[in-house]
Amino acid sequence: MSSNPPPPKPSRPNLANSSPRRRNNSEQALPAKPYELIPFPKQPPCLKRPAGHDKYLPDRLHGTLFLTLTVQTALHVSTGVVVMGSDIGNNRIPLIKTMVQNPDQKLTIQGSSLKGCVRSVYEAVTRSCICKTKAKKLQIPDKYSECTPEPKKGRLDVCPACQIFGALNWQGLIEFQDAVCQSTGFATGFMPSLYRPRPDQRRAYFRQGKVAGRKFYYHTIRAIDRGQNQGIPVQTAAKEYIFTTALHFKNLTAEELGTLFIVLGQDPQYPIALKVGGGKPIGMGTMTVQVTAIDCIKGQNLRDRYVAYQSPDSTQLTGDVLQQLMQQHIQTAHASAFVEKPQLDALLEVLRYPTDREPPTGMY
């Protein structure tokens, strides 16, 4: 077993040595990029003190969301480990990049992959900081640099995303679990060699010296499997594979929960899907979300939960009641202007699903 081997290096037009003029020409000659940069809101992040974990606040929401994720285009969430095909029961493949499997040999999406995916969309549709980037400090728009709360110094104000997903020194309010596939087994796909973003050569990443926005890849009708010669076989979850997971939350306000529902694609006005794992440029990783049940408590229900050993089952909602509750919270989120409409509209164009977009062919 070897870890992180260098990918094969195919020949590629060497943009680095070309003159600026030629570089522009070659950029124009290339097909359209399979991603967009969603610009930042006009106003700076609205910082607030997060709710914290010390108690369940009576006027906030606590509970669990039960999710079903359906794979729409082949999904590969890499472990970073390449093994021989014989190690995972396929003797015809010499080397393959693996996905996480649980002790029952069921494919698993790490909680961290899901959290990152959901968080990045949540950041884009609210006035939140750019929490993880290698862009230089001067290139980051004013007040958009990463939140750095210092509880010991009493500095606790953070952006909306950091309030619920956490920041360095401050624990978030949402806990993701691994999503486990309902069926055993896996498919094998192919991942062509993908390239680094080259921000030094592609000017579109910047506008007036500042980063132009957050990068999101389009969904496509399918993923390309064998478009390129160079690449590596990958263990994948094929179309229609179903994963289930639960998402635990505490101390959320109605608009925070509503925004989370929007991000999970539960708003009929904004039918968006998640883009998870590797191979995003070639159309991989599209997943639609269904909220199957919610266990949500607040106020008196909270008190009831903590004065009896057998928790009342009636707090779990499904079906129409669940749909009504979700739409109610979504409306609260829209009405409170917690969600930035221009950003959400722009994001809808990128993450809309179903789509009729074809995956890019050749080198983009």
């Binding site: 790490q110 909680g111 990045s120 993880k132 980037t133 995003k280 050993y309």
Partner: protein, 324 residues
């Protein structure tokens, strides 16, 4: 009140990883085949093994117990010392445990107990010892443990490439860790609160260890048995539990007794223990080894019955706070 022992409860339980867990060792070992972040290890039963340290378990249990008390009680000291409240032990200067006139002087032990918060009475503070003791959780069978390596990267929000990482960490996804929780001189409400905390741990309302927000730390709680002992009692000729040296104090042989039941009224009030702290159970008492002491045993899943009953005592404490 630690000067004598009136009741003692031992809850034996197994913690079974429900997904990956990692209690990080904090130090990076010299073994180059291991990930950057390793599980804590120790020597146990002639071999090196990962384990869940008691301190990690107690911290998580205490934090959740405090969270429950603050949510349905108060998070600051109420004027009535018998009301339910939890302090913030990390930022409390404990001025209320010092003499009003002379701040250098501490109050008497019963007063310290009376003025401490509900959770401090159970888990201890710098002035009173903890009533609860929890053992390290060791794997029941080392060969059943499943250890894996996981990787993580932070994706750059602007460029879509790797912003931080890759970093790798060790997780345990299978096996069973056995531990014991000991409670001495407990009130039934305290036992009830522990029951609620363990219920929530089993339900995934809080986790253990590293990276709780992204998939790690959830466990299932499986009860092996619970033993409640009254070391200063014997079973008398009428098959009743009676306190040695106090011929007038005896109870039915199926009675669950909190600390308050054993004390004289004056002493009980000085410490603030509840009156009539007893409940009926379906379990009957039997003599402890060597003929001294009485014990009640709950086996396997019937341990939840013990908790269900003691939560009723807990409810009484909560409700008395709500009415006054």
């Amino acid at each position: 009140m630690h000067k004598r022992l009136v009741n003692h409860c031992t809850i034996e339980l197994s913690l079974i990883p429900d997904g990956p867990i990692l209690i990080k060792s904090g130090k990076e070992g010299a073994d180059p085949t291991k990930p950057d972040m390793e599980f804590v290890e120790t020597y146990h039963q002639d071999g090196r093994t990962i384990y869940l340290p008691g301190s990690s378990l107690k911290g998580a249990i205490r934090a959740h117990a405090e969270r429950i008390v603050r949510s349905i009680g108060s998070d600051s000291k109420p004027t009535n010392p018998n009301l339910l409240w939890a302090n913030d032990p990390l930022n409390d200067n404990y001025d209320y445990l010092k003499d009003r006139k002379d701040k250098q002087k501490k109050l008497s032990p019963p007063e310290i107990h009376l003025h401490s918060s509900f959770t401090d009475r159970l888990f201890g503070n710098t002035s009173i010892a903890s009533r609860l003791r929890i053992e390290d959780a060791y794997p029941t069978d080392r060969t059943q443990l499943k250890l894996e390596e996981r990787n993580g990267v932070a994706i750059d929000r602007v460029f879509g490439s790797v912003a931080v990482g890759p970093f790798n960490y060790q997780v345990c996804t299978g096996g069973e860790f056995k531990t014991k929780i000991h409670l001495k001189n407990f009130t039934l409400a305290q036992l009830g609160l522990i029951g609620l905390v363990l219920r929530d741990l089993n339900d995934g309302w809080f986790g253990l260890g590293f990276t709780k927000s992204r998939g790690l730390g959830t466990v299932r709680v499986q009860y092996e048995q619970a033993i409640v002992q009254y070391p200063a009692c014997v079973l008398n000729s009428e098959n009743q539990i009676s306190l040695l040296g106090h011929s007038n104090l005896s109870w039915n042989h199926t009675t669950l007794l909190g600390v308050g039941a054993f004390l004289e009224e004056s002493e009980r009030d000085r410490y603030g223990f509840p009156k009539d702290d007893r409940l009926d159970t379906p379990v009957s008492a039997e003599a402890m080894p060597l003929g001294f002491g009485v014990q009640l045993t709950w086996h396997g899943n019937t341990v939840t019955d013990l908790f269900e009953r003691s939560v009723k005592a807990w409810k009484k404490v909560v409700m008395s706070g709500a009415t006054s």
